[in-house]
């Protein structure tokens, strides 16, 4: 198990507990009551820590190396998954995975950024940082969904779009812009879930939908706290402050009206009970689709666009000139 910085109290408790269990199994001393006591203490401590997380701690949790990624959820939530590859122009971007599948009786197109569980896998998936081909691959799948009336489900988990030279040459900006434009007017329901990191345009590039949800321990922002720190504070040392200032947590985003709902995670984070998390997600998707599928497509699109139209805070000063 990997413990994050702020989870250190849990680490020592867990170690104690493991030792007790070992002794109890090996020896003749009955430690059952002590073990139960300690387990209780662990649950309490976990609750205490997790009921009071800072922005930066949420960012750390969203990047937890054991956190379930897109492929895991696809595997758990869907059946008959047929993975689709390629953008039909340049290549198959491994930072985006997706395809056609069933959720219950409903055919869907499901896709998202994939990070990978081992170093090798992480490199293979480019750490979940898509190139333009990734966004074009995603759009191609969404267009298939539109043509055959499958709803689209996107799972967002990226530290950002890949900032490389080739990405610029092949139009990273154009690829993202095109997705925003096309997703806004896709004729099928679009559900977006931030399952980990929601960094900037790289996240939004598959993130325009009828409804957008965030798992409890995720973040969504115009820039990562680290980059924000380096630009606005001119130093890498202010990431914690930046994370607070950016108000990037799910509760903030809900309060701002920029997302529709928060999906609760098991106490301690999705990685502690990934199967439970996947189950929650599946039933949530099913419920959402029941509401959105029967709607008239034009009305759905109109509502989607009006939702985004309303996003923004400003003041109206003086006389309205016309």
């Amino acid at each position: 198990m990997v413990f994050l910085e702020f989870e250190k109290p849990l680490e020592s408790l867990t170690e104690q507990l493991d030792k007790l269990k070992q002794v109890s199994e090996e020896g003749d001393i009955d430690l059952a009551s002590t073990i139960i006591e300690l387990e209780k203490k662990l649950v309490e401590k976990r609750k205490e820590i997790y009921s009071n997380l800072t922005g930066w701690q949420r960012v750390q949790l969203s990047r937890h190396p054991e956190r379930p990624y897109t492929s895991y959820y696809i595997d758990q939530i869907t059946s008959k998954f047929v993975e689709l590859h390629g953008d039909r122009f340049i290549k198959d971007d491994k930072a985006i995975v997706g395809g056609i599948a069933k959720i219950g009786n409903q055919s869907v197109v499901i896709l998202g950024q994939q990070k990978g569980n081992t170093t090798k896998q992480r490199q293979y998936h480019n750490f979940g940082m898509p190139n333009p081909e990734g966004y074009r691959k995603a759009l191609r799948m969404m267009k298939i969904a539109e043509k055959f009336n499958f709803p689209v489900i996107t799972l967002i988990d990226t530290p950002g779009a890949y900032p490389g030279m080739e990405a610029e040459e092949r139009g990273q900006a154009e690829a993202i812009a095109k997705n925003l434009f096309e997703m806004a007017q896709l004729r099928v329901p679009v559900l977006c879930y931030v399952i980990g990191e929601g960094a900037s345009g790289g996240a939004l590039g598959i993130g325009v939908g009828d409804r957008v949800f965030m798992l409890e321990n995720t973040w969504y922002s115009v820039i990562s706290p680290e980059s924000c720190s380096s630009i606005l504070w001119r130093s890498w040392d202010f990431k914690e402050v930046a994370a607070e200032s950016l108000k990037l947590t799910a509760p903030h985003m809900l309060e701002f009206g920029l997302i529709d709902e928060i999906i609760r995670e098991p106490v301690g984070g999705a990685h502690l009970e990934p199967e439970k998390m996947a189950k929650t997600l599946k039933s949530h998707i099913t419920k959402q689709l029941k509401e959105l599928m029967p709607m008239d497509p034009d009305e759905r699109i109109e509502q989607r666009i009006s939702k985004y139209r309303k996003m923004g805070e400003f003041e109206i000063v003086g006389q309205v000139k016309e």
Partner: protein, 302 residues
């Protein structure tokens, strides 16, 4: 998002006003180092007479250049930024806003106007790099959205002049969502068959490029402008390599297929006149009638 760094490095932030530039003041070109008088510079569309470097100019100067007789009506100037997140980095966002508003009262990182170009109406939303780096926050998204609604209601084409370091970080996810907002609103313009011209000027980066700037029916740019998603410094730091000469310039984007053409500032008004002739929304004009005006042939910018 790199506007802050660029400002820090001493990029000129003075706004050059054509009318206010007295004779005899000298201007040194930041590209070729040659000097000319401020008047010569102003008379040359604020381009260097020696190397044709296009200096950054304000929305008002673009309006002067573009619209017939320099006449236009400003729209939506009542919409202004506020610090709704109480964002403070090394300075409070509210202080930055006070300063920006004092230096350009009633203005914003984007100024929107309607006027006539060669007798045809055009709505122009022009970004102002001198206003907090031309950064895109809620006001930019709102003014663009209202401009689109104005265009839909009055059946007028839209041009956005981009000049921005990217998103306004002090508005966090709200600034991010302006990308979705403006792109979603542009679909309405598309469906109504109203043309949208995206004109990119130096610099056009970050979330601005990755939304409306790349969504024009036609995308064009001034020569030598920096256009990209990730800023050059970010890329350089990330790949730990120097970037080749001319990387992310207008010419680079034209070569890679992301621009329709490059237009010199002195030819902008003529070119727009031609475009508005082709992409006309006023269906009442009889296209089969003999031409009453001389349409200049479109020339390729050098």
């Amino acid at each position: 998002m790199g506007w802050f760094k660029r400002l820090k490095e001493g990029v000129s932030t003075e706004t050059i006003n054509k009318k206010a530039a007295p004779d005899g003041l000298w201007h040194q070109c930041k590209k070729c180092g040659e000097t000319c008088t401020s008047k010569d510079l102003a008379d040359n569309f604020h381009k260097c007479p020696h190397c044709n470097y296009h200096n950054r100019i304000t929305p008002e100067l673009y309006f002067d250049i573009i619209f017939d007789g320099g006449k236009y009506k400003e729209l939506f100037s009542e919409i202004q930024s506020k610090d709704f997140l109480n964002f403070t980095d090394l300075r409070a966002y509210s202080d930055r806003l006070v300063e920006a508003k004092a230096s350009k009262p009633g203005k914003e990182a984007i100024v929107t106007a309607v006027g006539k170009v060669k007798r045809r109406e055009l709505v122009v939303a022009a970004m102002d790099f001198f206003y907090i780096g031309g950064s895109m926050g809620s006001v930019v998204g709102e003014k663009i959205s209202r401009s689109i609604e104005y265009c839909l209601e009055h059946k007028v084409p839209l041009m956005i002049i981009s000049k921005s370091g990217g998103a306004r970080m002090m508005e966090s996810a709200f600034s991010l969502m302006q990308m979705a907002k403006t792109s979603a609103m542009l679909t309405k313009l598309g469906k109504a068959g109203i043309p949208f011209f995206s004109f990119m000027t130096d610099p056009t980066t970050g979330g601005v490029t990755a939304s409306y700037a790349m969504l024009g029916d036609l995308n064009f740019a001034e020569p030598g402008a920096l256009i990209g998603f990730a800023g050059p410094r970010v890329i350089k730091e990330f790949i730990r390599k120097d970037l080749p000469e001319g990387f992310q310039t207008s010419e680079f984007l034209l070569e890679h297929g992301f621009l329709d053409f490059i237009v010199d500032r002195k030819d902008l008004r003529e070119r727009l006149g031609d475009l508005l002739h082709f992409f006309r929304v006023d269906e009442h004009v009889d296209d089969l009638a003999p031409e009453t005006e001389n349409i200049a042939p479109i020339q390729t910018a050098e």
